[in-house]
């Protein structure tokens, strides 16, 4: 039984996060703005993605809000690099892919409940495929100014 305190000491003295050793993965998903998605500031998760939220996703990406890859199973991967571009705060590569669904090949890291992705290759850029403006209009509502004013 003296072995139990040993196990406890070994496991509990280590920081409570996974080692940041990468794992090669291929993920398909949409590049989203993570603040609107995680905070709920503009409503439910269905409305803050896709074409309805495209303009806001551009604003957020340009504004330095972190970009995530929302996979088909609902997992969000915080994107650290795309094809060598490490500008993950307001960078051009992330901005140009806002709202696009991509198939990404790269390295996955996990730390403290968040997933991180280094996209080594955009295997396919499927474009903006979630046409949810047909259901939600534009989110937020002021994103498209009245052209007659």
């Amino acid at each position: 039984m003296k072995i139990l305190p040993f196990f406890a000491a070994v496991f509990l003295s280590a920081p409570a996060y996974a080692a940041t050793e990468g794992e090669r993965v291929q993920v398909r998903g949409e590049l989203i703005d993570t603040w609107c998605y995680f905070s709920g500031v503009m409503g439910g998760t269905d409305a803050v993605v896709g074409s309805a939220h495209h303009t806001c996703a551009l604003w957020c990406s340009a504004g330095g809000i972190p970009v995530g890859l929302l996979a088909e199973d609902g997992t969000v991967y915080m994107v650290l690099k795309i094809e060598g571009d490490d500008a993950n705060a307001s960078g051009d590569t992330q901005l140009n892919l806002a709202s696009h669904e991509i198939t990404a090949d790269g390295m996955l890291y996990a730390r403290d409940g968040l997933n991180y992705l280094v996209v080594e290759k955009v295997v396919t850029d499927h474009g903006i495929t979630n046409l949810n403006h047909e259901d939600y209009g534009v989110v937020p509502g002021f994103a498209i100014p009245n052209p007659n004013k």
Binding site: I3, T20, T34, V41, H54, T55, A62, I128
Partner: protein, 192 residues
């Protein structure tokens, strides 16, 4: 005995792999509420780090010089907190506000987002103010817009920055507000 030890090891292992418990960092916080569903005020000490460096080991000078997202390695539990947002209303992240504190020990005050209903919505932070550890004076995390104005003097004008941002406007001019090639009038009409 063997079964018991295996079970005990699994229990201890799972405890170590997951956050041990949700700590409360609200004591001492003077953060302003945003009335977000899953927000809690959070005041804590931390080291400002380059998240890409911290996670992957790729570490350029000066935390990436403003090009990379910066994180808060919390003193109390070594958790890497991800500041998604600064204190300004609108669409600004926190990198510009945190960069002057790269690699420094600081104290921060703001709102922590922990939403069990959204996959991955954990250790997300809205930083409202920052100060060096031991300092009295706070710096408000609201400098993004001034920084943007310096970068884009040609975009000076009325209205919020996001209506005038040259990169955003170029993309909208190319593919429209929904990214589907609709003209401005067509896109507006689709929302009516």
């Amino acid at each position: 005995m063997k079964t018991f030890l295996t079970a005990a090891t699994l229990v201890i292992g799972s405890l170590a792999a997951a956050p041990l418990f949700a700590q409360d960092f609200s004591e001492g916080s003077t953060a302003k509420a945003w009335n977000l569903y899953a927000e809690t005020p959070a005041f804590f000490g931390a080291k400002v780090v380059d998240i890409t460096c911290e996670v992957t080991g790729d570490c350029p000078d000066n935390c990436g010089d403003g090009n990379r997202q910066l994180g808060l390695l919390r003193d109390a539990d070594d958790v890497l907190v991800f500041p998604n947002k600064n204190s300004q209303s609108g669409f600004q992240g926190a990198t510009v506000d945190l960069l002057p504190f790269c690699d420094a020990q600081v104290e921060v005050d703001g709102l922590l987002i922990q939403d069990e209903d959204i996959k991955g919505a954990t250790n997300i932070y809205l930083v409202q103010k920052i100060r060096m550890a031991g300092a009295e004076e706070w710096t408000k995390a609201n400098t993004w817009s001034k920084d943007w104005a310096k970068k884009y003097p040609e975009a000076k004008g009325k209205g919020p920055w996001f209506r005038r941002d040259p990169r955003v406007n170029a993309i909208i001019a190319d593919s429209g507000y929904f990214g589907q090639g609709l003209s401005h009038a067509e896109a507006y009409e689709a929302t009516q």
